[in-house]
């Protein structure tokens, strides 16, 4: 198909765009929606790669993505946020333009790193490795610059998205067993972290992670 590569490029670019949007948004619920969008794009791109490469097992992982990242996790997170009353996350450690500028530098760094690697890869999606790397780093940056526990989890999940994208783009996906394992891990992780949230809130009566700084021994 002649349009596979341009469309894949477009999807990859959108993925990057969503990562940046995540960096710039203040409301937690918006973040969850963006995360769901990211999952949807991941689903589409995986389907496209599966179609063009003829590897049918990629369809399974695409379906898994759809189920878990587009439907299940956002639902769980939304419920969690409502239960916790944590809709707002107005406080960021660094102001947003500066964060985005740092994000930009990270993207260049990631692209620069990926250039030699993508030269070696043979898949049609090799150029996307840089974007995958950038998505991972940007999610990391989001985790660093946010103060609320829920956003940290979203950052963590977005990072996993980036890894997944890296796997599909560089090597046409991981073995099915590994993928299932990761999916299960993520799901269980979210549940456990959800429990943690309640514990944190009970302890400090807020989800602000600055409170945890008091835990260190002086």
């Amino acid at each position: 198909m002649p349009y596979t590569v341009p469309i894949l490029n477009l999807l990859a670019a959108c993925l990057l765009l969503i990562s940046f949007a995540m960096l710039s948004r203040r409301r937690t619920q918006r973040l969850v929606n963006l995360f769901a969008w990211q999952g949807a794009i991941l689903f589409l791109s995986t389907c496209l790669v599966a179609h063009s490469s003829g590897l049918h097992e990629l369809y399974y992982s695409a379906a898994l993505t759809l189920l878990l990242k587009v439907i299940a996790l956002p639902l769980i997170l939304h419920r969690l946020i409502n239960r916790l009353g944590a809709q707002w996350d107005s406080e960021t450690v660094v102001n947003i333009p500066l964060t985005m500028l740092a994000g930009l530098v990270l993207v260049i760094f990631a692209f620069g790193l990926a250039q030699p690697i993508s030269m070696m890869a043979t898949t049609i999606t090799r150029n996307m490795l840089g974007i995958a790397l950038a998505v991972i780093l940007l999610s990391f940056l989001m985790m660093i610059t946010r103060r609320k526990a829920v956003t940290q989890v979203i950052g963590f999940l977005a990072m996993e998205n980036g890894l997944f994208f890296a796997a599909t783009s560089a090597t046409y996906g991981m073995p099915m067993v590994v993928e299932l394992g990761i999916a299960l891990d993520v799901l269980v992780g979210v549940f456990i972290l959800g429990l943690f949230f309640f514990q944190i809130r009970e302890q400090f009566e807020s989800l602000d992670l600055r409170n945890m700084e008091n835990l260190k021994e002086d």
């Binding site: 930009l104 260049i108 760094f109 692209f111 620069g112 250039q115 030699p116």
Partner: protein
């Protein structure tokens, strides 16, 4: 003097002219207080010589003359001074002549007895300053270069401290002298590395010696040159003397320093990095580019928050020097990546900007001089509304303002256009990371240019527009005709290069041809299309014609079709009746968004009055962070070391003699 003569012996003529400058300076000495001779004869004559220098340089550049060398009959014993005129020095002589002519004629009307140094003495210092700058540009060996360089620093020091009874001015002068000397030491060391073991200090010998330098030594020489010339040029973080010295000096001297002296530093840097070192590593380019861009944005941000008009212009000089070095850095980067044509484009942009800056910055500094003389105020908070009192100065300052803000069809736009054009090719640089980061430089440049527009709107709006903030401003008058001629000359320069960019690009092509062996296409006089016409082209003259045409037709049509009824009423201002001049934005108020956005750059001290204060005063001090983080620690360390050494100072003569004696013994032990 006929044309063939100039073409034949340009170097000899230049030497005569420089000597005449010195003679003019001395001629004013017998009657230091008698201003008439100095004002009516000597300074105008100096301006004529400037014009002659510019003419010779232009003819030399346009005829594509081969470099001329000569050996002066005097100099250090056994070390005669070498001089040389080539395209690079000719281009900067052109800058010196063009801007110098305007400044000199302005100075004729400006310097008066009773303001600091007597006019006669001032004339001597002034012309020695001019002559030493010309000699810096002509020097062909390290000795003469350093002698001229130091003469330039010293004469300008005396000019800066002309009002030496004011302590701040003495302080500023000291800081300037100190930085100038540290810079000179760096340059000296750089020459020391450049001779590469041959112990030949002519530039010609260095040109050959440097090809055998190890990469480490070459880089050392390059860095020392960047440090030394950067200090003179005012690159951040070596810029601290500049915003102190420029406001302290009389306005024509500020104009001279900002317009011409900073360019000699650019010249020196180009001479060493391109001519002597034959730019070898692309990392150099990245360094210069980064320093240049940082200086540009830093200068622009600081200019936006100043409330002293000359300080504002001083920071704007830092910005413009940053832009020039950005172009040079880009040229190094392209040249070392074997993209010679683009290198020529970037260098051409830097050179044209250097010329442009010398014109519009001198112009603006001179207008501040006129404003200062007419009102006695330098602080923006006490000016305003001068367009109605000083229409002449205001109109000419508007030209300078629009030019420095980089607006078409004036000259500032041309160089920025060229530089942005060369940035467009940076993705072709074959180094990962660099080819992704450098395009962002174009954005920084655009931000700087737009900030410069902000700064200049502030400058012009607060000084010339609005209502006068002090009652005494109604006394302000336009300056004398000599000053007007000087201003007009520079303004015409700004307009001419804006309309016909080739006026600056053709001479610059000579320099790029000499340094890079490449010139950007100069097909027609009225058009510039540096790489290819379908890629990008610009024509100032057509643009100007278009602007004037559309404005004229609009005006005529409105006048023909609509009525022209008009009545004068008090300003409306949404119906608010009690308008006073103090309700306008002050300089601080206008800079407030910048202060808010770039707060991280400044150290801000503020006194906010309490709500029930009867006589509330709002006071704010903005400081450079670099001053505290970089310079104060160095100063303290120096102080500390000096204190330690001062233990030796016991006051007893025999101890001192003992010290000398011990030193002698130690030396003898080493030698024998």
């Amino acid at each position: 003097m006929t044309l063939p003569l100039i073409a034949e012996h340009p170097l000899r003529l230049l030497l005569y002219l420089i000597t005449t400058w010195l003679a003019l300076g001395l001629a004013g000495l017998p009657t230091p207080r008698g201003g008439r001779l100095v004002a009516r004869v000597l300074f105008p004559l100096g301006a004529m010589i400037c014009l002659a220098v510019a003419t010779i340089a232009a003819i030399f550049l346009l005829t594509g003359h081969a470099p001329q060398t000569a050996i002066l009959p005097f100099g250090l014993p056994d070390l005669p001074f070498h001089i040389r005129l080539d395209a690079l020095s000719a281009f900067f002589l052109l800058i010196l002549g063009l801007a110098g002519a305007g400044i000199s004629i302005f100075s004729a009307g400006y310097f008066r007895a009773g303001e600091g140094t007597a006019p006669g003495l001032m004339g001597l210092q002034y012309h020695v300053f001019l002559a030493s700058m010309a000699l810096v540009l002509l020097a062909d060996d390290a000795y003469l270069f350093m002698v001229a360089w130091e003469t330039m620093a010293l004469s300008s020091y005396f000019l800066v401290t002309s009002q030496h009874r004011i302590p701040e001015i003495r302080r500023a002068g000291f800081l300037y002298l100190l930085m100038a000397h540290v810079g000179a030491i760096c340059i000296l060391l750089s020459f020391g590395v450049l001779q590469g073991g041959s112990w030949q200090f002519t530039f010609d010998a260095m040109r050959h010696a440097t090809s055998t330098l190890t990469p480490f030594l070459a880089t050392t020489a390059f860095l020392l040159a960047l440090l030394g010339f950067g200090m003179k040029a005012g690159l951040v973080p070596l810029h601290v003397w500049l915003p102190e010295a420029h406001p302290a000096a009389p306005s024509p001297v500020s104009a001279m320093m900002s317009g011409i002296m900073l360019k000699t530093a650019v010249y020196g840097f180009l001479r060493i990095s391109f001519d002597l070192l034959h730019v070898r590593f692309w990392q150099w380019g990245v360094l210069v580019l980064a320093v240049g861009l940082f200086s540009a944005i830093y200068g622009a941000i600081f200019a936006a928050v100043q409330s002293d008009m000359k300080r504002l212009l001083a920071y704007s000089s830092i910005e413009n020097i940053g832009i020039i070095f950005t172009g040079i850095g880009l040229a190094i980067l392209f040249e070392t990546s074997n993209l010679h044509l683009y290198a020529a484009l970037a260098l051409c942009a830097a050179l044209v900007h250097a010329l442009n800056h010398s014109l519009f910055k001198s112009l603006l500094f001179l207008t501040t001089g006129s404003v200062l003389h007419a009102t006695g105020h330098r602080n923006l908070g006490k000016l305003g509304g001068l367009i109605r009192r000083m229409p002449w100065v205001a109109t000419i300052a508007l030209v300078g303002t629009l030019a420095i803000a980089g607006l078409p069809p004036l000259n500032g736009f041309v160089s920025e256009w060229l530089l942005l054009q060369s940035f467009l090719f940076t993705p072709q640089i074959p180094h990962a990371f660099v080819n992704m980061f450098v395009p962002l430089g174009a954005a920084v440049l655009a931000l700087t240019a737009a900030l410069a527009a902000y700064v200049m709107v502030k400058f012009y709006g607060v000084v010339f527009l609005g209502q006068p903030r002090e009652a005494s401003l109604s006394e302000a008058r336009d300056p004398s005709w000599l000053e007007r001629i000087g201003l007009l000359w520079l303004a015409i320069g700004c307009i001419a290069i804006g309309i016909v960019p080739q006026l600056a690009m053709r001479p610059a092509a000579g320099v790029t041809g000499m340094l890079l062996g490449q010139t950007v296409a100069t097909s027609s006089l009225w058009w510039i299309a540096p790489i290819a016409p379908q890629q990008a082209s610009y024509s100032g003259v057509i643009l100007l014609a278009g602007i004037l045409g559309t404005i004229g037709i609009t005006f005529l049509l409105v006048r023909l079709l609509a009525h022209g009824r008009l009545r004068r009423v008090p300003a409306w201002d949404c119906g608010y009746p009690h308008q006073t001049a103090r309700m306008q934005d002050t300089a601080e108020g206008f800079g407030q968004p910048i202060r808010h956005m770039f707060g991280a750059f400044f150290r801000i001290e503020r006194d906010l009055p309490t709500p029930d204060d009867i006589a509330p005063r709002y006071r704010m001090r903005l400081e450079d962070r670099i001053w505290r983080t970089l310079y104060l620690p160095i100063a303290r360390a120096t102080q500390k070391i000096a204190d330690m050494v001062s233990i030796l100072q016991s006051g007893s003569l025999s101890i001192y003699l003992l010290c000398s004696f011990l030193t002698l013994i130690v030396l003898l032990v080493f030698v024998l």
